[in-house]
């Protein structure tokens, strides 16, 4: 691969299984009438935007592949199996068939280790890909015509605290950027997480009955809007600096470190982000947001 590689875009790409369920792709067993259109249309706009770009790989950091011993990377070239969401099995039973860019994964793994992070390649061919990875990748690129790099999320926010996790994710982001530049490849990064993340604990009989769908509580909504406002203003360093409070006060899925990794890899962009849309899923706040590399 000739030339210097590049992160061509970074995306906050949340993974509620409801969005795949509502879209009725052939890979998913359950079928829906409709639902969560504001977010699904946001993903429509994202796909249209990314279609303008040429890119080689999707790299995704997932809250639902959780590791405590460092950061792990998918290290098998091909995976084919079924993913059933253990929390919403009524909505997501997805037959996947995907390819992994193992050399790029190995390169990020090595760069991260060189920066002092604990890392490991995942070489077990029976490994089941987590639904966060699958959903974010499906919604971004439903044709699955590009390989992915899958990265686990470390549990340091719970184990220590959010600040420790963020320090690790700053390094992981740097390692990601370095590896991509060395690879000569053009990569889109996906931060596979919601914003506020307090769920309702019941669901309507018709799950896609949108008359039941709203934010879990106003506090979450205020915080989500604050975060989105910072994204739109290009104040990503400030966003990351208040992320500890945001995460603690809204039970946010940013505790996975995905968004911090994304911002670090992109060098904390100051260009305003493109907010493709915001919506709630079973009470949680979700935004589809795109940053283009300057």
């Amino acid at each position: 691969m000739a030339g210097k590689g590049k992160i061509v875009a970074g995306v906050l790409a949340p993974h509620p299984p409801h969005l795949v369920y509502a879209a009725n792709p052939e890979q998913n067993e359950p079928k829906a009438e409709c639902g969560w259109e504001t977010l699904r249309w946001a993903y429509d706009r994202l796909r249209k935007s990314l279609a303008e770009l040429e890119y080689d790989v999707l790299m995704v950091h997932s809250p639902h592949w959780r590791t405590n011993i460092g950061t792990h990377f998918l290290g098998v070239p091909h995976f084919k199996s079924i993913s059933v969401d253990p929390v919403f099995p009524n909505l997501f039973r997805y037959h996947y068939d995907l390819k992994v860019d193992v050399p790029l994964a190995e390169s990020v793994c090595k760069e991260a280790a060189d920066l002092g992070l604990t890392t490991q390649m995942m070489r077990n061919k029976d490994f089941r890909i987590d639904y966060g990875t699958i959903i974010s990748c499906h919604l971004t690129n439903p044709s699955w015509d590009k390989p992915i790099v899958g990265i686990s999320s470390n549990g340091a926010a719970r184990y220590y605290n959010m600040d420790v996790l963020q320090a690790m994710m700053f390094k992981l982001g740097q390692a990601t950027r370095t590896a991509i530049e060395k690879s000569g490849k053009r990569v889109v990064l996906l931060s596979s997480n919601s914003l506020s993340h307090r769920h309702f604990v019941t669901e309507p009989e018709i799950v896609e009955d949108m008359s039941y769908e709203h934010i879990n509580n106003h506090n979450q909504y205020l915080w989500d809007m604050k975060m989105i406002d910072l994204m739109k203003q290009g104040k990503t360093r400030q966003m990351i600096d208040v992320l500890t409070d945001f995460t603690e006060q809204t039970n946010a899925e940013t505790e996975s470190g995905s968004l911090t990794w994304l911002m670090s890899a992109m060098g904390f962009p100051t260009k305003p982000a493109e907010v493709h849309g915001y919506g709630t899923v079973i009470g949680t706040g979700n935004a589809v947001v795109e940053w283009r590399e300057a």
Binding site: I69, P86, M122, G155, Y159, V201, T202
Partner: protein, 321 residues
């Protein structure tokens, strides 16, 4: 009928895949083998597993697929290998449990899907204590938001289901005691409990259990959660469920088969057999709800949140990375 025996069992995959890598792991594995023999000798109809490794959000899920089959790989310890499994579930009892839970105002549903990812803890325990599927099982999820009242009611619903079906059960909570795994790779021979504090709390809890004081241990769960658990969920629930489904008392013969570190966490194999004699009680002072009154929204409702204003943000001195 009722629960004729209760167990607290660990669920890390090392016990199936690499028990010989550490003498302590081997001892825990041998203790699991003793439990298997006890269960084989017991006159039980069904195994009821409550797994802290299976989170749920929409109420409580109960595995009911008659013969779930897959090849399991742990998210974290994937390098240890794969665990093929085929289990036997008691579909009728799972449905009875769900009905009993709904009767007590809980949200509950059975889970019966091809390819459903049975959690590591349940796979490990069923492979070791019920290797030939002699007894059918059900697996109960652990709701990430539920606290004591809801978990107690879930345990009572299990008793209701047993009474209704006339079945005799062995109840099993799948959990570590302290759950602080190592955050770095170790040589297995160097394994130890992650901190002295974790070790002391584990030992205190085991003293209670060895004395048969299950209800007392249950009522110390909040304290144990604060002292010895990485707070991944709302609270430490497996002893609430176990004490509740077994009848909320200290009338047990307790036996600690083994206690060792596995990757830093506290792995205990404990048996509790109903007994006529009762250990003295310590607490017994918490509420004892019979039905679930619904979410009280204690985590999110009515909290005044002060958002940072633009001036605050402008003043932030963000460290360059």
């Amino acid at each position: 009928m009722s629960v004729i025996k209760g167990y607290v069992l660990p669920g890390l995959p090392h016990l199936v895949l690499t028990p010989d890598a550490n003498p302590g792991w081997k001892k825990v594995r041998q203790a699991m083998d003793k439990v298997r023999k006890e269960i084989e000798a017991a006159d039980a109809d069904v195994l009821i597993l409550y797994s802290t490794y299976w989170p749920s959000i929409i109420g409580h899920q109960i595995q009911s697929r008659p013969e779930p089959e897959f090849v399991h790989v742990d998210d974290e310890f994937h390098e240890l290998g794969s665990i093929p499994y085929k289990f036997r579930m008691d579909e009728a009892f799972a449905q009875a449990y769900v009905a009993a839970a709904k009767e007590r105002k809980l949200t509950a549903r059975t889970v019966n899907y091809n390819g459903f990812p049975i959690d590591t803890g349940s796979v490990v325990v069923l492979k070791l204590i019920n290797p030939n599927n002699r007894l059918p099982a059900v697996i109960v999820s652990s709701n990430i938001y539920s606290d004591r009242a809801e978990t107690l009611v879930l345990g009572k619903a299990g008793r209701d289901a047993l009474a209704k079906t006339g079945k005799k059960a062995i109840a099993i909570s799948i959990t570590s005691l302290s759950n602080r795994l190592h955050d770095h790779f170790i040589d297995p021979k160097d394994d130890k409990i992650n901190s002295l504090k974790d070790q002391e709390w584990n030992q205190k809890f085991l003293e209670f259990l060895e004395a048969g004081r299950l209800e007392d241990a249950s009522q110390l769960s909040r304290q144990f959660h604060r002292e010895a658990r990485v707070n991944k969920v709302a609270n430490f629930k497996p002893f609430w469920w176990l004490a509740s489904i077994m009848g909320q008392s200290n009338r047990y013969k307790g036996e600690v088969f083994e206690y060792q570190p596995i990757m830093g966490s506290g792995a205990a194999v404990v048996g509790l057999t109903p007994s006529a004699s009762e250990a003295r009680d310590l607490e017994f002072d918490e509420n004892d709800p019979d039905s679930y009154a619904g979410e009280r929204n204690v985590l999110s409702g009515g909290v005044e949140v002060e958002l940072p204003d633009d001036e605050d943000i402008a003043d932030l001195d963000v460290e360059k990375t």
